[in-house]
């Protein structure tokens, strides 16, 4: 606690020094600074960029943890990271990648793209949008602080109880998991709610549900999944928090609790979570493949139907993570058949992508490369997914490296490839600069080869009897060579990621400016406005006359969208410091609970309530801007 206060004072001093000392202009200077602008922004485009940067930061941290683990497993008997340290690495790698990399990167693209695709000027609740981001960010920081303050969580990203209870995981590690994810989870839940309302209420005239671009559709379904899945996790975390902090016994079998309850709650959340991160990737694929094939998406209606069906079935299959818990043959069979059923809508999607390209004119720009690389990779992940759905076979695969291979094929080969496709595709829209194509291609090829080299051999490691989450393995049972290959493959993904970072830095400085229709093939509304879009996105709300709204206008010979309203002043929401203040309050409260410093926890909660109070009596009604007339060639 004392350290924290010293740090806070230091920060204040630094702020004072860099702003020219505390004087009357201090507040003015602060308010006009760019930092303050970013900290208080409620603009969905800026929040999208914040999510992107936050997500990439945690992606690098999670990647580093993966590299450490693969180095340890390079040879049997290594002693680089053993025992508890290795368990901390595997826990933090999984937790970071799912909650702090995949989720925010998805929210980054949703923020940057969804309002533009539906012809809206912002999301429905800009304030909540900012709050969602800052809660995620502070939750993530809190979780990662565990490395410095007493050890990271070490019970796996699934944090199965038994092991996650005080008796078996002493120290604050798992508390960081519980409170860090609880705080980040509130942010995610808020974000999901916001996008549901946005997509229902903020569509431009003519943008009916069956004209929504597929990425928006998947964002919609994903938000719905967030809304129904996260509460289960919130409850699970709350119960675990009570067990660990206040001595309750929900999960302690010796006191009449049950670890199986945790497993159910976790996977009732955890399985839909898998679809939360994969569905937006499907959406990105659909948009990218259609754009770079110069063709309308094949079977749009069935794509929408498949998305909704996958989202729905996603809630019906969680027990397939628990086939070996001993729930009995009936329960295992029912959930096995339900799981297999998901293969049908997923298959529909894959064939629709293939037939979107069929008869098109395919241009292999970087986003398209990622989309094309996605298809075989994801199909392999889907194949092993069906294989894992069969309980008798799963008794062998469960908790072996086969499972590790499978979920990396869907989460990296699916979600990460999808995210890279989306980032390359919409980067010009977000930043107004084109990313470099040849660096992008280097990124793709090194990452793709490295990925398959790392994870393909892991299928065999599992079948040869290597359980997952082990820090070492025996010699002379046929595991050495495959583990070596797997570790070497990581280098490919590392080099690819470095190409990506170099590309970002290089392009932000020197990249060519992007046109409104950056790829020249734009089909949806976001390509009808400048890159990056002005603060208010659309000077005039567009009138949507069909699916692929911009393409419809292009086919009709129009260069721009037909406006649905006269040019007039636009109402914008004011920036607010309350989201970051409230999140900071949660952060302090969480930290207080973790170190069992109840005064600090109370102090944090006071900040939260103060922020709530301020917000309730905030009479700021926003401001108006006069858009520049696009007819007169307005400059941004």
């Amino acid at each position: 606690m004392a350290t924290l206060i010293v740090l806070l004072v230091l920060v204040l001093f630094l702020a004072a020094i860099f702003t020219g000392g505390y004087n009357r202009q201090f507040l003015e200077r602060m308010r006009n600074s760019r930092t303050w602008d970013w900290l208080t922004t409620v603009d969905h485009k800026k929040i999208g960029i914040l999510y992107l940067m936050g997500g990439l930061l945690f992606f690098l941290i999670g990647g580093l943890e993966a590299i450490f683990m693969r180095l340890q497993l390079f040879a049997p008997g290594n002693d680089l990271f053993v025992g508890r340290t290795f368990n901390e690495l595997l826990t933090m790698h999984g937790t970071t990648m799912i909650f702090l990399a995949a989720m925010p990167l998805i929210f980054a693209i949703m923020n940057a793209v969804v309002p533009l695709q539906i012809g809206a000027r912002d999301v429905a609740f800009p304030f909540l949008n900012a709050l969602g981001f800052w809660l995620f960010f502070f939750g993530g920081v809190l979780l990662n602080l565990s490395w410095i303050f007493g050890g990271a969580p070490d019970a796996g990203w699934t944090s199965y109880t038994g092991l996650a209870l005080n008796q078996y995981s002493p120290g604050p590690g798992v508390d960081f998991y519980v409170l860090g994810l609880q705080i980040a989870g509130i942010g995610t839940l808020i974000g999901g709610l916001n996008f549901i309302v946005t997509i229902i209420n903020m569509r431009a005239p003519g943008m009916t549900f069956l004209r929504l671009p597929l990425f928006t559709w998947t964002a919609f379904v994903t938000s719905g999944l967030v809304l129904f899945a996260f509460p289960a996790f919130t409850v699970a975390l709350l119960l675990l928090m009570f067990d660990r902090l206040f001595g309750s016994n929900f999960f302690d079998h010796a006191m009449g609790g049950s670890t199986v309850i945790w497993e159910h709650l976790f996977w009732i959340f955890g399985h839909p979570e898998v679809y939360i991160v994969i569905l937006p990737a499907f959406g990105i694929m659909s948009d990218v493949i259609s754009t770079f094939s110069k063709k309308r998406l094949f079977g749009y209606n069935s794509m929408v139907f498949a998305t909704v069906l996958i989202g729905f079935l996603g809630f019906m299959v969680w027990v397939h993570h628990m086939f070996t818990v001993g729930l009995g043959a009936i329960s295992n069979s029912v959930f096995a058949v339900a799981t297999m059923a998901i293969a049908v809508p997923t298959g529909i999607k894959v064939f629709n992508w293939l037939f979107t390209m069929w008869g098109g004119e395919i241009q292999f720009k970087t986003p398209m490369l990622w989309a094309v690389g996605f298809i075989p990779t994801f199909v392999i992940g889907g194949m092993t997914g069906v294989m894992l759905a069969l309980p008798p076979a799963d008794y062998q695969y469960q908790d072996s490296y086969f499972v590790v291979a499978h979920f990396h094929y869907v989460l990296v080969g699916g979600t990460v490839f999808g995210l890279f496709a989306g980032i390359y595709y919409w980067w010009p829209k977000m930043f107004g600069k084109m990313l470099n194509e040849s660096l992008g291609k280097w990124h793709f090829w090194t990452f793709l080869i490295g990925f398959h080299l790392t994870f393909f051999p892991q299928h065999f490691l599992g079948l040869f009897g290597m359980p997952r989450r082990v820090f070492t393995y025996q010699t002379n049972v046929g595991l050495e060579r495959l583990n070596e290959i797997s570790t070497i493959g990581v280098a490919g993904m590392l080099i690819g990621t470095i190409f990506f970072l170099v590309n970002i830095i290089y392009t932000l400085r020197k990249g060519p400016k992007a046109e409104a229709d950056a790829w020249g093939l734009g089909r949806t509304l976001e390509w009808s406005i400048p890159s990056p879009p002005p603060e208010y996105n659309f000077a005039q709300t567009p009138l949507v006359r069909g699916f692929d709204a911009l393409w419809v206008e292009k086919e009709a010979g129009n260069k721009t969208m037909t406006p649905a309203e006269p040019l007039g002043s636009i109402h914008m929401p004011s920036p607010s410091y309350i989201p970051i203040m409230m999140s900071l309050g949660f952060f302090i409260a969480g930290f207080g609970f973790i170190v069992r410093g109840i005064p600090a926890a109370v102090f944090g909660l006071i900040i939260v309530f103060a922020a709530l109070f301020l917000r309730s009596f905030d009479y700021d009604r926003g401001y108006h801007v006069e858009p520049e007339d696009p007819e007169k060639g307005g400059k941004e």
């Binding site: 078996y168 094939s293 070996t324 069979s333 199909v379 008798p392 359980p467 025996q474």
Partner: protein, 333 residues
């Protein structure tokens, strides 16, 4: 140029196949080389699903490669593709065919799931009560009154019912060569029926993260011919021969009673493996090969061998005392 590339890919694939054929895992630890009926059933299903899935994969990849080659943008040409909406006929095809394939997969799946869950008739079955502890395995034979640890013996050709108990955290009981796994859930008793068709040693693993020593929570299952199994049970039931009062073993026994017996004979809260027939075990702590040198390494610093183990350091004995203790332990047959 195109042909050259295809050749190269072909060469690469055949090399990879050859390489993988070369290493098919160890026969004592491989899912792909089952030695019991459960493992065989499971491998059948694995192969059946793999065949179906490979057919799907080949179809997808054929269309995929064709589309990418045939419809890529060619230099100097700028065509406007026809904006097709979809095709009901095609969509019905790729909905119905996968459903049919999945039914072909679901039928044996459900059948096998129920088959594997069956409990065999008690009179014809060897029952073993397994308990998973952090980080060792306890085996009790209620029909024979035997308690042992780390190494289980089973008769070849007989059904063995494992009743799986847990006391601390989740573990998972897995003998890949004999059949798939079953979780150790504290507060529940799970059952799993396995059998071995050939005599031999089969390795077992803990498959559920259970703490720092998870990676080293190994055990062994020895499948013996019925005669050998009967001999083994008889010898296990015989009390350990008492040591002569003046020997160094006697001194070792004294040290054992002063230092070890609390945990190792189940008096204390902490449970440790029963060391009654320690000399017959092939490993120390389930991982180190059983010899004097390794026993010393283990006793002096168990944490260095198996992180997280509850076994304390026995580094305070002098050289003679340590040797006596080891002699005593290795006399317990």
């Amino acid at each position: 140029m195109e042909r050259l590339r295809i050749w190269r890919i072909g060469l690469l694939i055949s090399l990879v196949t050859l390489f993988l054929a070369g290493c098919s895992g160890d026969p004592s630890l491989s899912v792909l080389d089952p030695k019991g009926s459960a493992g065989e059933i499971q491998l059948n299903l694995i192969y059946w699903s793999l065949i179906l899935m490979t057919v799907v994969f080949v179809i997808v990849i054929t269309i995929f490669v064709y589309v990418l080659v045939r419809y890529r943008k060619r230099k100097g040409k700028d065509i406007m593709p026809e904006q097709v909406h979809g095709s009901t006929k095609l969509e019905i095809i790729w909905t119905v065919i996968p459903i049919a394939a999945l039914i072909a997969l679901a039928i044996p799946t459900v059948q096998y799931t129920f088959e594997l869950a069956e409990t065999p008739p008690a009179e014809d079955t060897v029952i073993i009560d397994v308990t998973g502890h952090q980080y060792w395995w306890e085996f009790k034979y209620p029909q024979y009154g035997i308690t042992t640890a780390q190494e289980a013996h089973i008769p070849v050709g007989k059904k063995v019912l494992f009743r799986i108990h847990g006391e601390d955290v989740l573990h998972s009981f897995w003998v890949p060569s004999l059949g798939g796994k079953m979780d150790v859930v504290p507060g529940r008793v799970n059952t799993m029926t396995l059998d071995a068709k050939q005599p031999g040693m089969y390795q077992g693993k803990c498959a559920e993260l259970c703490g720092s020593g998870h990676a080293l929570m190994d055990f062994k299952v020895f499948a013996d011919k019925q005669g050998d199994f009967d001999k083994w049970t008889a010898s296990m039931k015989q009390p350990v021969a008492s040591v002569s009062a003046t020997s160094s073993e006697a001194n070792g026994e004294k040290i054992f009673k002063q230092n070890c017996i609390g945990c190792h004979a189940g008096v204390s809260q902490i449970k440790a493996p029963n060391l009654n027939k320690f000399a017959t075990r092939s490993t120390i702590a389930g991982i180190l090969p059983h010899n004097e040198q390794n026993l010393k390494i283990w006793l002096k610093n168990p944490q260095a061998v198996k992180p997280g183990t509850l076994m304390p350091k026995i580094d305070y004995l002098n050289k003679d005392e340590l040797n006596d203790l080891i002699k005593y332990l290795d006399s317990r047959k």
